[in-house]
Structures are given as C-alpha cells and as structure tokens.
C-alpha cells in the first residue's frame, strides 16, 4: 500500500480528516477528485496552512497537512509551535523529501534540522519511518492519536518487512555484543546492509530502527548501551538535536556511559546531487558505513 492509498482510505472512512497542502501535491495527486471539498490546497503559504489547520482542528477536524519538510517545519515553525503546539491540537504534519531525499535540490531544501526543532515543541510527536512499508504501518496509529505529530515522510520502497508499529517503541532488527547501530528513516536500508557486512567480518552487530523519535524508546537505547561496547547513531540530520543528542540525553539520564559514534552532518549542509552520488560522497553507502564502524570498533577494543 502507498502513502496516498492509505490516506485516501483513512480520509474516506473518517469525515473528520481534512487533507491540506501548501501546493505540494506529490503525495496527494488523486485527493482532489476523491475528497472534493475536504481537500484544501492553500497555495504556497505554509504559515497560513498551519494556522488554518489549527482552526479546523478547533472545530473537531483532523487536518493532515503536506509541504516540503524544510518549508513546513521552518517557514511555518512559529505557527506550528504557537497555534498547534500551545493548544495541543491534533494536526498531523507530513514533511516531504526530508533529509537526503532532497537530493539535487540544494541546501534550501535540506531538512536536516527538522527532528531537533520539532521535538523541541512540548507535546509534539516525531516519527521517522524507514521506508514505505514502515510508513504505512506507522501512520494509522499516528493519525488516530489526539497529539500533534510530525512525520518525516519516506515513501521509498524498501527491502525489509517491518513489524507492527507501536508508539514509542523501536523496532529491534538484531541484537549484538560488539556494536549496535541506531538508525531512522531513509538510511535504515544502508544500515541493514552495513550490519550484514560487519557480521560477515565476525563482529556481533545489533540494529535498531528507531521509528518513533518522540516519544523515544528509552528502554531499547539503555538495553543496547548495556549489551554492547559501542553505539552508532546514523541519521541524515545535523548532529545537533537529532538521534545522537537523543541518545546522549537518555544515557545521561540513566547514568550510563558507552562509546557512541555519531554518523551525521556536522555543522554543514550536504553537497547536492543525485542520491546515489550523494551517498558515496558523504560516506553513507553500506560499505562506507561498515568500514567506519569496523575501524572505530577496533579502536574501542584496542583501548
């Protein structure tokens, strides 16, 4: 099932749902004819769309709103924080082409701070599905809840069949004694392949699909930290405020120390280009991820 098929089915079953977009129709092409007046395109007006969504939610609606992730989360940030966040309204934000998925667009379109800023809003939930299968397994619960939520929409077909979604629960793909890779979103698949490569090299490597970054699965992070000698956080996000920060916050809270290697963007935007090339240049292919983890894990053992 695709994002749009799920959205169509959900919206047809529930009159409360209003599908909105700030003229980004990539995910909702067929909605106008299916939903009629419950499909609202506000034009290129992210802030107004969010404010209107808050007004619709005040009237009992559940707006599911769409825009490119950077414009949705940053152009409209104060409207999200002030109108949706303070009132804790069930507005569901779908951010399109987050992180690496903006490939050739350039830094204006790179949403690589969205997790940091969206989780900074009290009561806002943040979800980052690994692929289309994970996405459509996650969304029914996210849309059914009373909470405002931001979803990094990753609609790429994956190679993995995910387990059912539960809010606040990570998906434990594998457990390991040497290293555990914590990942979310688009990089999941490369992490999975890297985990397999590292296993072939004789390392015992765990892999966790974080899925739900807020609320986050603290127990899964703590268990992994206690079980293995090194954690790796892998994300197409700035190092500040994303998964690396979340893991640091959790470990500090529980008084646990473990070597943690961040694979994230440090104080810069990534060089735009076709996704396959970007992955090569940024060292985010399965082989390059595995090589970085392998050499780092050897250093940990040498200490």
């Amino acid at each position: 099932m695709t994002y749009e098929e799920l959205l169509t089915q959900t919206a047809l079953e529930d009159e409360r749902i209003i599908v909105m977009t700030a003229e980004n129709r990539a995910l909702v092409r067929n909605m106008p004819k299916v939903l009629g007046s419950r499909f609202i395109d506000t034009g290129i007006t992210e802030a107004t769309m969010v404010g209107m969504a808050a007004g619709l939610a005040l009237r009992g609606r559940i707006p599911i709103i769409h825009a490119l992730a950077p414009f949705l989360t940053m152009r409209a940030y104060e409207f999200i924080r002030t109108d949706v966040g303070i009132a804790h309204l069930p507005v569901k934000l779908s951010g399109y082409i987050p992180g690496l998925l903006s490939d050739g667009n350039g830094p204006t379109h790179q949403s690589i701070e969205d997790v940091a800023i969206m989780r900074g809003i009290p009561g806002m939930e943040v979800y980052c599905p690994a692929d289309e299968d994970d996405l459509v397994k996650s969304l029914p619960a996210i849309w059914a809840s009373d909470a405002p939520a931001y979803v990094r929409v990753n609609h790429k077909k994956g190679i993995y069949t995910h387990r059912p979604f539960e809010r606040g629960q990570a998906e434990i793909i594998a457990e390991g004694a040497d290293v555990t890779i914590l990942v979310y979103g688009f990089l999941f698949e490369n992490a999975l392949k890297a985990q397999q490569l590292l296993t072939q090299e004789g390392l015992s490597v765990g892999l966790i699909n974080m899925r739900s970054l807020k609320p986050v699965d603290e127990a899964a992070i703590v268990r992994a930290a206690k079980r293995c000698r090194m954690l790796v956080t892998l994300e197409d996000h700035l190092k500040t405020g994303g998964l690396y920060s979340i893991v640091a916050e959790v470990l500090l809270q529980y008084g646990i120390t473990v070597r943690t290697m961040p694979l994230a963007f440090e104080e810069r935007w990534f060089k735009p280009g076709l996704l396959t090339e970007v992955l090569e240049v940024e060292g985010l292919t399965p082989e390059k991820i595995a090589a970085k983890i392998y050499s780092s894990s050897k250093l940990v053992y040498a200490e």
Partner: protein, 288 residues
C-alpha cells in the same frame, strides 16, 4: 438601534473602561490598545455575535470572535464581567500565577476562543474555522480583530489571499485602526494608507467608520452579508483613538503599556468621568 439600547451600550462601555483602568494598576496592562476597542468589543458581544455564552453549552453553530492583537484582552475581560460571563473578583487576579488573567488571551478563560500574543496568527486560525463552517454549510460568522500595527505582518495578507481564494465571505477582519503601533504612529514607521484601497485590491469587501460610534458600528455590521456575492472576506476598518476616554494618555506614543500607581488609577477613573486630566508621575514608557 433604540435610544435605550444606545444608552445601555454607552454605559456598558464606560464600565468596561473602568475595569481596564483598574487592570493598569500594579503590573500594568496594554491600556492604549484596550481602550481603543471597547465599543467594538461591547457592540460585538452585546448586539451582534450569537456567541452562546451564558446559555449553557456552546456549539459549533455559534459565531466566533478571535482577538488577534491580543493586547486588547482587558477590554474582552471587562466586557465579560459586565455581561456576567466572568466573576468580577477575578479581574483582581490580573497577573497572578494562580489565575489565567494575564496580558494576552488564553482559552483557560471560558469564552476565549483561542490564545494570541504573536501577531498575524489568528486571521489564519479564524480562516480555518470559517472554512469548516462553510464545509458544514453553516451560516455563522467568524470575526477576527487585528491591530493596525499588526498589518505589518505578511501572514495577515497571505491569509487574506487564501481566504479570498476559498471564498470565505463568512470571515470578517476588523482592524482597530488606532493609528499607533507599540512605540510610534503607524504612518511614521511602515505606512499603511490607503488601507481601504489595499484591502479592496486584495478582493475584500471593505467598510470604514468611526469605531467609537455605536450607530456606525451597527450600520457596518448589520449590512455584512452572509454571502456577499464577491466571494471575498469582509474587512471593517474601525477608526479609533489609542487610549480613548482618557485625554491624558489619548493618542500618545509613550502611553502604550502603562503600569499606574493606585492613586493615579483613582484620578484616571475621575478623568474618565469628565473630571480634570490626571497628572501622571509613573514612568512614561515601559518598553515590553
């Protein structure tokens, strides 16, 4: 409007101004922007809106009023007290952390439709409400009061474009045109005039009148069509005076936010009733 109604509205407005002046004691309030929209608030709640307050459960068929400029909330609370929707004693809790009566509106006070404080937000929220009313085929009205300084915010104009695109003619934007924003005259900072032309060019149906004259308010609001044919939102520009009712602070750039001493409040109450102007020794400008 009968003479009795007019006289009732005028005496209510006077009492609302008394509440506002009392709320300016101690920690102070945005007295200028509150005094300028008293007639608007009193007229809308007593004569125009089917707000459902005081009549049991409020439903989705009610009319809505949103206070987008936010600083005017003492005028709303004063009106609520006069209409029996808020206990008079609660105004004494102004700025107490144990109540919800502070410088900006919030939904913890029954009757407040939405919080505000950050300018340029509630036109969009109101447009969302108006859109839902249209989707449900209801004929209720959605009114949002903005400041004139607030029109600096691009989001106001963005929302008008979108509201007109979606033919939200059940939406009415009321501009409290008191000629001032925080520290200066609007025309000296970011000129707004010709304001009627600007809104008309956006596709709105615009009326402009004296915002302190109940008869003119009545005329402007009574002729608001539920469906006005143009498809655009309605705009009412209410020409007002910042600090209206107190000559000692009227239309003065340095009397935006005021925190008065108790003895000054007593003198201002006298001044409101036509006695001599108050000699104010409190700091002339408290920058917020």
């Amino acid at each position: 409007m009968t003479n009795t109604t007019l006289s009732d509205l005028q005496s209510t407005a006077l009492r609302v101004r008394e509440h506002i002046i009392r709320m300016s004691a101690g920690g102070g309030c945005f007295i200028g922007a509150s005094l300028s929209c008293v007639e608007l608030m009193v007229y809308l709640y007593k004569e125009f809106l089917h707000h459902g307050l005081g009549a049991g459960e409020r439903d989705l068929h009610r009319d809505y009023l949103f206070l987008s400029k936010g600083h005017d909330v003492p005028a709303l609370y004063g009106t609520f007290v006069e209409m029996g929707f808020l206990e008079p004693d609660r105004l004494r809790n102004h700025l107490s952390v144990h109540d919800h009566i502070y410088w900006h509106p919030n939904r913890a006070i029954p009757g407040v439709e939405f919080h505000s404080g950050s300018l340029g937000h509630l036109p969009a929220v109101a447009a969302g409400v108006a859109l839902d009313c249209k989707l449900r085929g209801e004929r209720n009205r959605v009114v949002v009061i903005t400041g004139d300084g607030e029109l600096n915010e691009g989001s106001v104009w963005e929302t008008i474009l979108v509201a007109n695109a979606h033919k939200l003619d059940n939406l009415t934007l009321v501009v409290d045109r008191n000629q001032f924003q925080a520290n200066m005259r609007t025309e000296e900072l970011v000129p707004l005039e010709p304001l009627v032309d600007k809104f008309e060019a956006f596709g709105c149906r615009v009326r402009r009148m004296d915002g302190h004259d109940f008869l003119q308010l009545e005329e402007a609001f009574r002729e608001l069509p539920v469906s006005n044919g143009t498809g655009g939102a309605n705009v009412i520009i209410a020409d007002t005076v910042r600090g209206k009712g107190l000559p000692s602070i009227e239309a003065r750039a340095d009397r935006w936010f005021c925190a008065f001493k108790e003895e000054e409040v007593e003198q201002l109450l006298q001044e409101l009733h036509g006695r001599k102007e108050t000699v104010i020794s409190s700091e002339t400008l408290v920058v917020r």
